[in-house]
Subunit: 194 residues, 2 copies
Amino acid sequence: MTTQDRLIESTRTLLWERGYVGTSPKAIQQLAGVGQGSMYHHFTGKPDLALAAITRTAEERRAQAEAQLGGPGTAVERITAYLRREREVLRGCPVGRLTQDPDVMADPALRRPVEQMFAWLRERLAGILAEGLTAGELRPVLDPAATAATVVATLQGGYVLARAAAATGPFDQAIDGLLGLLTAAATSAPGSAA
Amino acid sequence: MTTQDRLIESTRTLLWERGYVGTSPKAIQQLAGVGQGSMYHHFTGKPDLALAAITRTAEERRAQAEAQLGGPGTAVERITAYLRREREVLRGCPVGRLTQDPDVMADPALRRPVEQMFAWLRERLAGILAEGLTAGELRPVLDPAATAATVVATLQGGYVLARAAAATGPFDQAIDGLLGLLTAAATSAPGSAA
């Protein structure tokens, strides 16, 4: 890893473990094994480092989602693959958790990658759902954009329920329930939609 | 308000604004206008105060939910009334947010009221959905417990999406999408379920 990469990865770790307020430039340098001069050579300061760290986390989640969403299969199959992929449920979503960090949310530059990741995900899912509607796989009563927001919300809220219970069961139930609703909204035979 | 109430309300405010780690016994006393001796007369310390504060918050949310869930109407009508009730969306859910407070989640006594509130809510919703299934209002393909988890997750995740966007729109969309799915799962005429 380059010095710059080590600094970004250290910032990601500290943001995750201690939040923005608990992440000091000194701690970043120590964890990265990088001196102060070198850090300020690469980054203007903590906000700049945090932006690079948050942007990288958001891009990783986006790539992870695309792995299933861009895969083969029908709309419901791709969404199912995405919802069912292995996750560290009790740790939660590293992007979603940033919405609970008041310092990150208060800074428009730091909030932007979080907002953009969720906007991208909702749009991607809405596009897939729209394909499913066009293909007659889903009944035309569903609104793709609203349904896409429900899919993302169920995941994010599933993490909340799992953390509350200190168990993954409620997350799995929320996903099961969503897939049950999507199945109920599916047409019995593709192409048969009115 | 009694001295005890003032201490609990001050603890709730501070937990909300600063989290567990940022809530000091001294700050609680100052905000409540209560001396140290009086505080320790009523509570054994910060964990005891936090437990009383979290329990009260959880009970309030439960009573708020019951106001709609225990109201008149069909299963879908009552769930719709609950989902559509006025909320301070950008502030988020005071109980859900506690799941992101590492000190609260690490203490089983402090986590318990959070877990119990969500367990109660899921069970209450599952009961209502089961009524809807029995009445033939919903198609029998739905699993009441799983669908109930999806309803609670959509709300909690809706807050996450709204905070990420600094706008209530994504929350409203997630609710719209969920109600669209529930409508799609409804039987066209009550009593006609196979």
